[in-house]
Structures are given as C-alpha cells and as structure tokens.
C-alpha cells in the first residue's frame, strides 16, 4: 500500500553519526574563536551588593567580562519575561549567572571567573511551593508567588460524592528530574555572518524560541538573528529556555568582542542551571459506586515552578485536562497551580505535566480497585473512554478511534497480565517477591489550545529530479528528518536517496513554532505533505499536458510516472528536468494549521485537543524485600499512533521512553536542599544503564487518524508517561505496600519513606 512510509527505512543522519562526522555544537571551530564562561551564584537566594570585575578584565587573554549592566534587555521568557540573562541585583536560584567572560582559552576563562569578586547578602529563600502560596513574592513586581491557576469543571462533584458508595482520599508527590541529554548545552555565536547581526549555531531545540529570545535581549529585529541548529545530542524538552539564555550570552559576548564565542556547559554547569521536570504535590479524592463505576473526582495539584515562570503557565494546563486519567467521570473538579520558589526553575520535559498526574491517577485506580475487590483490569475496563465518550473537559470523542480497550487487551496478552496478576496475588515467601502492574493514558496531541498550532515546510524539486526539503521544526534525535523525508518521498513516488533534508535555520525556514508536544509528525508532517502535494501537482499538470492526459490520470511511483493502468510514461528525473526548462514552479511552501479547538479558561472546559493517542504499559517486577532493590523484568508497551511512519524508529521511541519512565519510577531524582542541588553529575544523578533495562515488548497499534499525515499521530511523549505508574503498581502488588511518592528507590521500597543526606555546612 505504501512504498516508503510505514517502512523501516534507514535514518538519513545515521552515516554521519556512526562515523563521528556529525558535528554538534561543541565540535564547531571558527577562526579567532573565543571561549565564553559564566560565573554562577553562590547562594540560591541573595542580594548582589557588589561585583568587581577589574582584576578579571586585566588578565591577559581575557577579551570581555560582562555583567547584567551590559545586557541590553536582561529578561527573557517565552510566556512571561522574568528569566534573567545575568542576575541583576538579585539571585533567584543557585543556577543564576552573575557575570560572564570571553577569553582566548578555556583555562584563561576559568581563571578570569576566579578573579571576579562578588559581595552577596543572603536573603531567606522559599523552597516549598505550598509555603510559597502564602509567602511574600519572590519577584518584587508580582503580587504573590502564584504563576498560574488552571481549573477544570464538569458536573457537580458534591452530588457525585453523595452518590458514591466508596470515597478515597489520597496524596501523591513526584520529584525534580533532569532531562539527562548526553550532550551538555553548547552554542557558538558568530557576529555579522551571512547578513545577520549575529548567528548562533548549536544544540538548540527550538530555533524560533531561541531567536525570539536573542532578538529581545539584543533589542534587534527578528530578521537580524540567524539561529542554525546543528546535530543535537538529545533534548527531551530541555534545550529550550536554558539554551536561549546561553545563546543570548554568547551573542552579547560575540558582539562585544567582534569574535566568534563558543559556550559549552560542563555537566555540572548543565545540571545546576538547566530547568527540570516539575515536582508535583497532588491531592486526589475519588468516589465510586459499589460495582466500580467512577462517580466523581476532585483533584488539586501544586507544581513547583522554581525561580522563573518558564513553561509553568502551560505545563499544569495539560495536567488539568488529563488529571483524571482516560476515564468517564460524570463529576470532576480539578485545580492545578504553579508557584515560584527559589529552587531551580522547571519547564518542559518529555511528557509535559502528564507523568506526574498519571502516576497519581493510575496508582489511585489500583487503590480503588483493591478497595472494591476488583482487579486492575476490571476497574479500568468499566470506566475507560470509548468511542463517543465525553472527557473530563466535556469533549466528545467522535472523530477518531478511541482505542483504549484495544491497547489494554494487546498489552495484557503480550505480557500475560491476568495469569501473572493472579499468581502474584497469592502469598509469596522468600527474599524476593514479584508483582505486575499496569497504567493507561490518553494524551492530547500537539499543543492543544495552549497556542497557535501551525507549521510550514519548503520542498524543492531540482532539475535532475532530486529533492531538498526543510522545515521550521527541528531534529532532536527522534528521527524527524527521516520521517519528513519519508513523507515527501512517498508523496512524490521517489526513493529516499533522492531526498535531502536541510538543517533548520531561522533566516530560511518558515516559523513553525516549537518542536514540542509530540507534534512534529502530526503537524509538521502535514506541512511536508502539503508542500510535496503542491510540487507534485505542478509537475503532474505539466506532464499531463505533455501526454494529453489529465493530472488525475498519473501515478507517481518508483521514480517514475505511470498511467492509472500501469503504463510507464516518463522518469521522475526527466519530468523534473523538462518541467524546470519549461519554467514550471518546482519549489513550494507547504503550510498546515491544526483543526480549530477551544478552551474556556473561566469555565474550565472545552475541546482542548483535536485528537488524542491512547496507550497502555504493563510492568513485571521483582523486589528484594531485604534491600529494597527493584528489578524490572518485563514491560509491554502498546501505543496507538494512528500510523507508524517508520516502525523501527517508532520502536526506538518506545524503548527509549520506557527507559526514561523506568528512571523516573525507581532511580532518578535531582536532590535539592534549601535550593542547593546535591547531585551535579552522572556519578550521583543516576540514569538507567543497559543492565537496568527489562525485556520490552513494543506493540504498535494503528488506527489511522483523519487529521494525521497518512493517519499518523504522536509517539515521543506517550512512551515515557506511563512507566513509573505501571512499575509503582507492580511494586505495590509485590510488597503489599503502597508508596505514593517517586522515585521508588532503595529507601522508599524498604522503609516506605526517603532518607535525605543534607548538604552539610558550606
């Protein structure tokens, strides 16, 4: 049915990556290049009384030493502009930059930083979001510490609880988590290059967001700033605001010194400065009837936004929409809040407000099932969303297949859930115990009513029939380039080797918003499809005229154009050549705007997303009852993606997402004590190794979506949002103890509570 799409074609960037040729930000060299470094804060909350940079400036090899005073516009932010490029008067968190230098070598830069004298006055900080609610505002220009409050309302929860036979109240909480991209942030800013005021190359997740920040910071026009993405060593939502800030700093230094300036974070600098996944404190109240039907849910979520707003205005919005889980609940009242604190700021990370609430709502479903004497499968099957269901936000699901029952069934079958659940429910003895657990989710695809949702792509057929393509969305390692080329190749009926993908560049690519929210294949893929169709239409019309046919009589396949009955007319290359010399337009812009959606912030309801994906993950674990060690043995992950554009890359997303979910569930935590970050490198911020991985059974479910390119929807984020919840449920079955906070590390599993070392005295 397809020739390129739905096939496991090779990644187009694989050759560069296996040979070491692929250039990442830190690999770039320019003549006369200087090295930029940043002096960071000593305290998480302090006044800066004085900065003396004279000694640093006088060191040989030092070209510039700059402070907030030298920054044209010091505050950036995609939503609220409160993030300081360099701390001015006030330190809000431990990762704040105080001053920066550009020097001829890294060592000179480091010596210059040591020579900067800063006088601080410590100010008591606020480190708990719940306390932040009533504390005086951290940012003096704000009324209070509330960054955002979102609500969702459906029916009447009081009535719903009155009608319930069982009511449970539970509290859950989650931790700070680091993205852990293997490549620390890196940029090079080059002044006055290719018509730009400044060009920034580097590991930038979202070139347009970074461009907007640099332009704002320099008080320049958007068209003066050229951001070019290189190969990027992972991002997972993480190389946005923190890299924008780095790009601003490098740009200022480059313009000041009139030299290219490279900035590369060490891992320690990356962890201390970069934003994290939001820790959530969640209160759930659920009511159900005796037979296990949900009657009401009341939810309150408090997110720690840290020092800057960053994505906090939006992250809890996804949470407010999805907090009940994928269930039909007649009465719902949900409130999500984000507060400023003096902790490291929090922002986008793969999942974006979903893994936290899924851990809570899926733990809760198991707790409720236990209370009612039902199995985890039974309670879910009674309550899941199905075709025609109305979600918590009041959206009727009638445009696509609501496949929860299918993903549950397939995952359960693959891992033998029912049989194992029964077996592990019987009393176990010995040092190790086993358990199996599940979690399900629905996830709104793309940005939803958060923002404008449109993307563009440009496709150009050359006179030899080869094709180049670029878009405003960017490769993050997930395989976007390959997927976009597959879509173009499929539509044009040409082989993948004829399609070249160009790197994203803000002075060429159409502004397509950000590469986030698992929207690239869906929204960006539609833009590529649109561009390819336009080019194909132009070529079709030209060729049809030549042969006295109509466009609809032509089939593009295997690098040739055929008639409907299979007669070979002309090769694609020859057709392109003739068309070019006939003056036919072969370069086309494709544009796609997502179907309209709406959200009523006041009423707390609406149709927040135009489509959803559905998933189920199940985990089988073994717990060492004497040490608290958890071994995840097997996981099944069933995901309805609409259509798999590249099944092998899709599996890669599933394996990787499962791993990140496992890390979130049992290992990872950025430990923060009164604003100080205790684990600054991978020797104590522990991520899963090859030895930690279970056997994973990826299950691809395809129910094509009417709005997706070839029916495709999303996969990046759904894969990681379920693992922690499924593992937590499995551990609860194995141990007979329910732990309501993450991560389920040695201490929590053995003792039921965490142990904190504390940072000791500085």
């Amino acid at each position: 049915m397809f020739s390129t799409v739905n096939k496991p074609v090779e990644r187009i960037d694989a050759y560069e990556k296996v040979t070491g040729r692929a250039k990442y930000g830190a690999d770039l060299q320019f003549a006369g290049m200087l090295y930029g470094k940043v002096l960071r804060a000593r305290y998480p909350s302090a006044k800066i009384k004085k900065i003396n940079v004279e000694r640093a400036r006088s060191l040989p090899g030092v070209w510039a030493v700059m402070t907030a005073e030298d920054v044209p516009c010091n505050e950036i932010g995609v939503i609220i502009q409160d993030q300081q490029i360099l701390a001015k008067e006030r330190v809000y968190y431990i990762g704040d930059g105080i001053a920066m230098v550009a020097a001829e070598s890294l060592e000179t830069a480091a010596r210059a930083l040591e020579a900067i004298e800063v006088e601080y006055e410590e100010i008591p900080g606020v480190f708990c979001p719940i306390e932040a609610k009533n504390e005086s505002p951290i940012h003096p220009d704000r009324r209070d510490n509330e960054i955002i409050h979102h609500k969702l309302r459906k029916g009447d929860v009081n009535k719903g609880f009155a009608d319930s036979d069982v009511i449970l109240n539970r509290e859950y909480d989650t931790q700070f988590v680091e993205h852990g991209y293997l490549e620390p942030e890196a940029v090079v800013a080059v002044p006055h290059e290719n018509g730009s005021l400044v060009t920034v190359y580097g590991s930038v997740q979202n070139i347009f967001a970074t461009r907007d920040a640099v332009a704002r910071c320099l008080k320049a026009g958007l068209s003066e700033i050229r951001i070019v993405q290189n190969h990027i060593g992972g991002s997972f939502g993480g190389k946005d605001e923190v890299v924008s800030s780095m790009a601003c700093r490098a740009a200022i230094l480059a313009l000041k010194t009139n030299r290219p300036v490279k900035m590369v974070n060490t891992r320690e600098e990356s962890i201390v400065e970069s934003y994290k996944r939001h820790p959530y404190k969640m209160k759930y109240k659920v009511g159900a009837t005796k037979d296990g039907r949900l009657s009401a849910m009341e939810i309150e979520v408090v997110a720690d936004g840290g020092a800057y707003a960053c994505q906090t205005p939006f992250v809890p919005w996804r949470s407010v929409v999805q907090a009940t889980g994928p269930y039909e609940v007649p009465h719902v009242k949900t409130d999500t809040y984000g507060y400023y604190t003096n902790n490291v700021y929090t922002g986008a990370m793969r999942g974006y407000g979903s893994p936290q609430v899924i851990f809570a709502n899926e733990s809760l479903m198991d707790e409720l099932a236990q209370e009612l004497g039902l199995s985890p499968l039974e309670i879910r099957m009674k309550n899941i969303l199905r075709n025609g269901s109305v979600t918590a936000s009041g959206q009727k699901l009638d445009r696509h297949e609501v496949s929860l029952a299918e993903v549950i069934e397939k995952a359960a079958k693959a891992i033998d859930f029912e049989e194992k659940y029964k077996r592990y429910s019987k009393p176990q003895s010995g040092d190790t115990r086993r358990g199996i657990g599940m979690a399900i989710s629905y996830r709104g695809c793309s940005l939803g009513a958060e923002a404008v949702d449109a993307a563009g792509a440009v496709l150009s057929i050359q006179k030899d029939g080869s094709v180049y393509l670029y878009s405003g969305l960017a490769e993050n390692g997930q395989g976007l380039k390959t997927v976009f080329c597959q879509i173009a190749a499929e539509e044009l009926g040409v082989g993948m080797k004829h399609v070249t993908f160009l790197e994203a560049n803000t002075l060429i690519s159409p502004d397509s918003g950000s590469t986030v929210a698992s929207r690239s294949t869906l929204v960006g893929g539609n833009a590529v499809l649109n561009a390819a169709r336009r080019a194909k239409d132009a070529l079709s019309k030209f060729v049809a005229d030549q042969f006295g046919l109509s466009s609809s009589d032509l089939v593009f396949e295997d690098d040739y154009l055929f008639t409907l009955d299979g007669k070979k007319l002309i090769s694609f290359a020859e057709a392109a050549n003739k068309a070019f010399w006939a003056g036919v337009q072969l370069s086309h812009v494709g544009w796609y705007v997502a179907p309209s959606i709406h959200w009523d912030e006041e009423a707390g309801k609406g149709n927040p997303y135009f489509t959803y994906v559905y998933a189920c993950q199940m985990a089988e674990v073994e717990v060492d009852m004497g040490t608290g060690e958890v071994t995840v043995l097997n996981m099944a992950a069933a995901h309805d993606v609409g259509r798999a554009i590249n099944p092998e890359m899709l599996k890669g997303q599933i394996y990787g997402g499962v791993m990140m979910g496992l890390g979130y569930g049992i290992l990872e935590e950025v430990e923060i004590d009164e604003g100080y970050i205790l684990n600054l490198n991978f020797d104590n911020y522990l991520m899963p190794t090859s030895k930690d991985m279970p056997t994973i059974i990826p299950i691809i479910v395809e129910n094509p979506d009417p709005d997706g390119p070839y029916g495709a929807k999303s996969i990046g984020e759904p894969t990681l949002e379920l693992g922690a919840a499924a593992i937590a449920n499995a551990i609860a079955q194995a141990t007979g103890k329910r732990i309501r906070s993450l991560p389920l590390n040695l201490e929590r599993v053995l003792l039921g509570y965490p142990l904190k070392k504390g940072r000791g005295k500085k």
């Binding site: 060592e107 480091a110 010596r111 040591e114 040092d431 060492d624 004497g626 040490t627 608290g628 060690e629 071994t631 290992l667 020797d683 522990l686 899963p688 190794t689 090859s690 030895k691 930690d692 590390n745 040695l746 201490e747 053995l750 003792l751 142990l755 904190k756 070392k757 504390g758």
Partner: protein, 291 residues
C-alpha cells in the same frame, strides 16, 4: 583551580627517588578517582604540586603465586584481576568484587593499588582484601615495610602511607579449600554503582563447624573493618545451629555500635542484616554441597 607539574616515572627507583625528594607529590596510576577529584577540586586532591605518573611502571603489573601466598603488583587493573586464572582459582571472592566495580572502562584503568590507597569507605576491593588478610608492601628510599591492610587503613580516605612511600605490592595468603567466601553489594542500579553497602565474608568450615571467620562490611562504617562480635558469635559453631537472620541483626547492631545513628542508619540497619544473612546462607549452601 588545581595546578601541578607532571613527572613521568620511568622506573620504580626513579619514582621512589622522586617521592623521597619532594613532599608535595601525588601519584597517579589509572586516574579514575584522582582525575575526578582534581576536576571537582575535592579537598583530598588539594595540597599537592607535583603529579607523579606511575602508570607506566610495568614491573608493578604482575600476579605471582608463591608457596603460601599470591603476590599482586599494585598496578594490576581490575580487569586483570577478573581475568586472572590464579585469582579465579584461589580468591573468587576478590574476582566477584572486582567485577562490580564501575564499568569496563573503569576496570580497564583502575588498579588494585589505587582502590586501596584512595581508601574510600565504599571501595569494593577493601572488604574482600581485609577478609583475605591481605598485606601491603610499601617502598621508599628508606627501605620497605609490610603491614596488614587492616593496619594500613587509617580512616575514610586516609591511610598510614608516609609521603615518600609507594605501595608496590599486595600479598594475599593462600587459604585451603576449607575456606568459603561470599561477596554482596547493594547499588542503586544494576551497573556503574558505588556501593550503598557491600560485604565480604570468608569462613573456614571444617565438618560443619566454623573456624577463623572473617566478616567485613563496606560502606557501613567510616572505613571497612572486621566485625568482631559477629565473628565471635559464629566462630566454633556448627552451621546447622546458626540462624543467619539473627547474625544479620547482630551485624547491624555492631555497625550502629561503631557509627551511632546516622541519616542512613534506618536503611542500612535492615539492608546490612539482609546481606549478612544472604552471604551466610549462600556459604552454608555451598558447604552442604561440598560435603
């Protein structure tokens, strides 16, 4: 920023001369701990001005079996311990500990001498080496001396090495086939772990009766030491009469008697008891099979 001068030792003699001539010298072999300490500017990496590279001293990379002991060159890597048939045959306890260190890259560079001299409370080779009653040989221009590893360790990250001395050899007395050992380790993940707790137990078992027991937990006390009360409790007993659970709890009590109650005690109290129980059960099992 830590600054230093780099000197490469071409021979042991050259290294000892250098150590004899200067006081502010730090020796580097595999560098897997030291380079990290220098990067982090850890206190224990401060105060030296000269870095003496001994990694090229091939004469310290050997394993030799003698009549009643095995002599190990201090520069043997963890990988060579793991791959050595002599270690495999005589001290499987040591090989199993070495396998749990870091990653292949670390095991290929890190050395037995480095592991001992870094003297981390969580060092994985210390408990088995103490249990095996290893001796260390220290050389200097003044001469050489040998002492037990137990005596050599002086505290967390502290040893009794004099500034002009270099550890050149580790001697492990051979034990007969009556001795059975077991190594246990808890880490937060399945590889690349610093021990949350580790444990080496070596027991002589003759006709079901325990003699010469050696019980050495790591990361449990300020630095690894033998747990005398536990050893006393099982010495001379028949394995049939020993309740491993009870001995495990005794080990935890003994740990607390050394450390007092610290932030990690609630966890380690339970976990150490489990490890001791497990190690004993495993050895007893092996002893029964051997019968």
């Amino acid at each position: 920023m830590i600054d230093y001068e780099f000197i490469k030792a071409r021979s042991l003699k050259e290294a000892l001369d250098f150590l004899g001539n200067y006081e502010d010298v730090k020796a580097i072999a595999g560098g897997t701990d030291l380079i990290v300490d220098i990067r982090k500017e850890n206190v224990r990496a401060k105060g030296f001005k000269r870095l003496l590279d001994i990694s090229g001293l091939k004469e310290l990379e050997f394993i030799e079996k003698e009549r009643d002991r095995v002599v190990l060159g201090a520069l043997l890597t963890h990988t060579s311990l793991i791959e050595s048939p002599i270690i495999e045959q005589h001290f499987p306890l040591l090989a199993s500990a070495a396998k749990t260190i870091g990653s292949p890259q670390i095991r290929n560079r890190g050395t037995i001498g480095g592991n001992i001299n870094n003297a981390s409370p969580a060092a994985d080779l210390l408990p088995p080496l103490i249990a095996l009653k290893a001796q260390v040989k220290l050389c200097s221009v003044r001469g050489e001396r040998t002492m037990s590893l137990e005596e050599f360790l002086a505290g967390p990250y502290k040893t009794n090495r004099q500034s002009d001395e270099l550890m050149t050899e580790v001697h492990i007395p051979l034990v007969n086939e009556d001795y059975l050992g077991n190594f246990q380790k808890i880490g937060r993940r399945k590889a690349m772990n610093i021990a949350r707790l580790n444990l080496a137990i070596l027991l002589g078992i003759n006709d079901g009766t325990i003699f010469d027991p050696r019980v050495v937990p790591g990361a449990a006390t300020a630095y690894p030491i033998r747990f005398g009360k536990v050893e006393e409790a099982i010495s001379g007993k028949d394995i049939k009469d020993i309740d491993p659970v009870e001995i495990g709890e005794l080990a935890s009590e003994e740990m607390i008697s050394f450390t007092g109650v610290r932030w990690s005690t609630p966890y380690k109290r339970v976990a150490l008891a489990s490890l001791v129980k497990r190690a004993l059960e495993s050895i007893f099992q092996e002893a029964k099979v051997d019968e």
